[in-house]
Symmetry: C2
Subunit: 324 residues, 2 copies
């Protein structure tokens, strides 16, 4: 069974690559940037080049979807470069193609806050997709970089779905009707996403889960099946948002970047500031098969389980990573 | 008579400094950045340091309002550093104080397009002041950097007026009830600005003028007197938006930055793309006294003419440039 995880943010070690490989994960969309500018992004890409040299027996870069099949055949984990923000392109439209050439295949238009392209999900206002944002969407469509609106606000997301000539995705979030959270998505967004051939990746980050870390596998798999009804069985996958091996300072940086002097707690709070505990059925990349088992227990057909676990992302990436 | 111009963008030469000095201009708010990032801004500040060395007999830097009186006494033109966009601080709140220390005293939160802080006047949506924007306003208030919303959208401007604990300004624009333009301002904005002790600088950039380059001095001075009624005689001044000695490539860069591949024509058009012709009564810095004469011809008292020509900006800068 092909397993693709559409979002992780991990402080990688050889042991964690081994864990992912032994968990049967064939490809992971990794986070290259949150707030990083062009220069810092290249630094992070340099770190990945080093990892490919050091752990070439376990991992390989994915530049087109078919590389994932090579990874599967060679028993390696395929690594898809992506940005959780548009900070790597700064204010320069020409950087879209440049970053594509550097390997980036997915880019979020915003990360929680307003960006130059669109509005993030933590803002109180929402300007929609900006003038620069419209140009960037056209350019991403042209080069084959997929638009991700996981951390974007509602109007911006709906406009991106409409403006993009190619299907877009939300790599990691859940329906807000299942669990209300600033990061989860309305039925309006999910329907529009499904109707245009877009994809949603289900998140196992506790702030996105009903009952947080106490969320049951049964509840989670029930939510998946409901969302399949809403969006279509071909438009959903996994985007675990697995964060591993980071200290609190990294979380603080993810939340506060350089834009505030006071700590911002995201969907946490001062009394619940630290990394949340993972649900016991999904502690690491070893546990993807628990989800497949959970879906089977709910009575889902094997063919549909395979779509959700990886095949849908494969097909979406197969179309999306190609230049127009 | 003290003459202060709250906005110019000039490709300076010694002759143009002479022109400003001989025109009786005591201080000019010059444009250090439109799209420039931190590094490019420092480069532009370096260029100014060179100008202060080369033309120290004609110009001097203004760091506090009282420096303008020294400039007047020494028959020099005082130079006030300002940014027409927030690009120089990039995504880093700490850069506000750093840029203040480099001499910057005025910063626009946006330049036509959406920025990380607020929405520009050419966007179709308007998110208002963003999360980062709120922090930047607090920090600008603290260090003594004045907020300028000349190129901002309506809601963003109203929110900035409300959020800022110190009066803000619109250095260069006119009332839209006199001439409808994306860059001109509604009565709602102008009233809110006046009521909070803020300042408007009247622009002589032809796209902001009734009948463009054919605008008469009488019409312009009538508009000033109407605006005095709306905002208060202590809340208005001159912000000429005089642009001199630039080629078309500079205008193209101001309008299109790096955010679009197609040319953007601002308030111009493909058939009217180039720098507009100045009205004959204001061709250069030599012509400020024409405005004083025009106001006198309309019957304005000398004490009020002096306020508009420079005293109001002086008092506003005297409060605004000081740390809280």
């Amino acid at each position: 069974m092909l397993i693709i995880d559409a979002l992780q943010y991990v402080n990688w070690t050889r042991d964690l690559f081994l864990e992912a490989r032994d968990g049967g994960v064939n490809a992971i969309h990794v986070t290259i940037a949150y707030w990083e500018n062009r220069r810092d992004t290249l630094e992070n890409i340099g770190d990945w080049r080093q990892r490919f040299r050091d752990h070439g027996d376990l991992i390989m870069p994915i530049r087109q979807a078919s590389d994932i099949l090579i990874a599967q055949e060679q028993n390696k984990v395929g690594i898809i470069f992506g940005f959780q923000n548009c900070s790597p392109i700064e204010d320069d439209l020409r950087m879209v193609e440049t970053m594509y050439d550097m390997g980036a295949r997915i880019m979020q238009l915003t990360y929680n806050n307003q960006s130059l392209l669109a509005t993030g999900c933590y803002e109180s206002g929402d300007s929609g997709v900006t003038r620069f944002g419209k140009e960037v969407i056209k350019e991403m469509n042209r080069v084959g970089m997929i638009i991700d609106m996981s951390h974007s606000a509602e109007l911006s997301t709906l406009q991106a779905i409409e403006l993009s000539e190619r299907p877009i995705c939300i790599t990691h979030a859940n329906p807000s009707r299942w669990h209300e959270a600033l990061r989860n998505k309305s039925d309006t967004v999910l329907k529009a996403l499904g109707e245009t051939g877009g994809m949603l990746g289900f998140s196992m980050y506790p702030f996105h889960l009903n009952n947080g870390p106490e969320c049951t596998l049964d509840d989670f798999c029930g939510m998946i099946m409901d969302t399949a009804e809403l969006m279509g069985i071909d438009n959903i996958g996994i985007g675990s948002d697995l964060c591993q091996n980071w200290g609190y300072d990294t979380l603080e940086w993810m939340r506060s970047g350089k834009w505030t002097f006071k700590p911002d707690y995201g969907e946490g709070s001062a009394s619940n500031a630290n990394w949340p505990k993972q649900p016991d059925w999904f502690a690491s990349s070893k546990d993807f098969r628990n989800i497949a088992d959970g879906l089977e227990a709910k009575g889902l057909a094997q063919v549909d389980i395979e779509k959700i676990m990886g095949l849908n992302w494969y097909n979406f990436f197969d179309q999306g990573f190609k230049p127009a």
